[in-house]
Symmetry: C2
Subunit: 225 residues, 2 copies
C-alpha cells in the first residue's frame, strides 16, 4: 500500500487544486486503471524545457553541444531516480502486486517515471511557472554543483578513451559503416569497437564526428560507465 | 544578403522587444559571430513541450507511445522545414558565402534549425505563452489535420512491413544481439536486417519489442521512407 500523499505534498511545497492528478502521477501501470504514463510523457517535456533554459542562462558562452550534454546528464533516469529517492517517492507509489513483490518501488525506471509524471501533473494543475519552480527547487543543489565551465564535462569519445586507459585497455576502433544522402545532407553510420571487451556499438550522425561521439556514448552506456 | 526581417515579423504576428534576438535566430553558424545554435537548442525544448501538451489534450485516450509517435512526426526536421518554407524563411537567413553558393538557404536542416531558433528567441523575449501562441498558429493546420485516432499513425514495424510488401520484398528479420542489466532493468539490443536490400540497423530498448520498433524506425530513416 502507498503512504498518504499529504507528506509528499509538504515536501514538494506544492498544493494540488486537483488531487486526482497527483494520484495518477503516483500510479504505475502495473496497478491498472489510470496510470502515470501520459503524465510522464508530458512531464518529460516540461523538465526538458526548464533545464534547457536554466543551462542556457547559466552558461552564456557554452555551445549547443555543451548545453545538450549537460542537460542529458541532468534529465537522465538515474538522476531522476536519485531525486525521487531523496523524496522517498517509492513509499507513495501505487504498484501492482507483481511489481510490489519484486521491489518495483526501488527500481530506477519506475521512480524516475513517477517523478516526471509529477512534473507533468503540476504543469497541468498550476501552469508552467509552478512546474518550473518545483523543478528548480528539486534540482537546486545539482544545478549549483555543475562545473563552472561546461567544457569540464568531457565529450563521450574522451570519456571512453580515459575509461579504457585507466583499465590499461587498447583504444576503441571507429569505422564508417555507411554514408547516405546528398552531398550536403549526409548521414554517417559509424561503428565503435573495443577488441579487448568484444563490444560493438553503432550510431548515426550528420557528420562522422557526431556519429563517432554518439557511438562512444552508446558504448559508455553499454559498459555501464 | 538577407531580406528585411520586418515582413517576417508581420507574418509571424509577433513583435520582438529585443530585435537582436531575432537577428541571432536568423544567423547560421557559417556567417560567423553570434549564431542561432544556442537558440535552436532552447527552441527545440519549447517546441517539444508545446506540441506535447497540445497532443495530450487533443487525445485524452491515447497512450504515451501514440502521443510520442505523433509528436515525433510533428517536430521532425522535415515538418519544420516545410513550415519554414511557408514563411519563406530562407530569404531572411544570414549565411556564410560557402553556404550561400551551395544553396544552403534551401536545405531542410538549416531551415528547420532557424525556425526552432525563432521559437527559442520568442520564448526568451516574450515568455512561454508567447512562444506557445506562435507555435500553435504555425502548426494550426497540421494539428487540425491529424488523424482522429492517433492509432492511425502506424508503428515503425508495421510501416516497414507495409513498405516492403508494397515492393514485393521479404519481411525484415529481427534478432536479439545482446541483453544486458539486471532481471528487472534489462537493455535489449536488436538488429533489423533486410536481406534483399542488404541493409542492417541496430537499436536498444528496455524491452525486445521497443528495441525492435526502434530498429525498424532507423531502417525507415535509412531507406528514406
Amino acid at each position: 500500500m502507498s503512504a498518504d500523499a499529504g507528506a509528499l505534498l509538504r515536501t514538494l511545497g506544492y498544493a494540488f487544486r486537483d488531487p486526482a492528478l497527483l494520484d495518477s502521477a503516483l500510479t504505475h501501470r502495473s496497478a491498472g486503471g489510470v496510470n502515470n504514463e501520459r503524465l510522464e510523457y508530458l512531464g518529460d517535456a516540461v523538465l526538458g524545457l526548464v533545464i534547457a533554459e536554466d543551462l542556457y542562462r547559466r552558461y552564456p558562452q557554452a555551445s549547443e553541444g555543451e548545453l545538450s550534454r549537460l542537460r542529458a546528464s541532468l534529465v537522465r533516469k538515474q538522476t531522476l531516480a536519485e531525486l525521487a529517492r531523496d523524496l522517498q517517492l517509492g513509499e507513495y507509489l501505487r504498484l501492482g502486486s507483481g511489481e510490489l513483490k519484486s521491489g518495483g518501488y526501488r527500481r530506477d525506471s519506475i521512480l524516475a517515471d513517477a517523478l516526471e509524471a509529477i512534473f507533468g501533473a503540476v504543469y497541468l494543475d498550476g501552469g508552467f511557472a509552478a512546474s518550473a519552480g518545483l523543478i528548480q527547487t528539486l534540482y537546486a543543489e545539482r544545478l549549483q554543483n555543475l562545473p563552472t565551465e561546461p567544457l569540464a564535462i568531457k565529450d563521450p569519445k574522451t570519456q571512453l578513451q580515459e575509461y579504457l586507459q585507466s583499465r590499461h585497455l587498447h583504444l576503441p576502433e571507429y569505422a564508417v559503416v555507411s554514408v547516405r544522402g546528398d552531398a550536403h545532407d549526409q548521414i554517417f553510420e559509424v561503428e565503435c569497437h573495443i577488441v579487448a571487451l568484444t563490444q560493438t556499438t553503432r550510431a548515426q550522425g550528420s557528420s562522422r564526428r557526431r556519429a563517432e561521439q554518439q557511438a562512444a556514448q552508446q558504448m559508455l552506456e553499454q559498459l555501464g560507465v
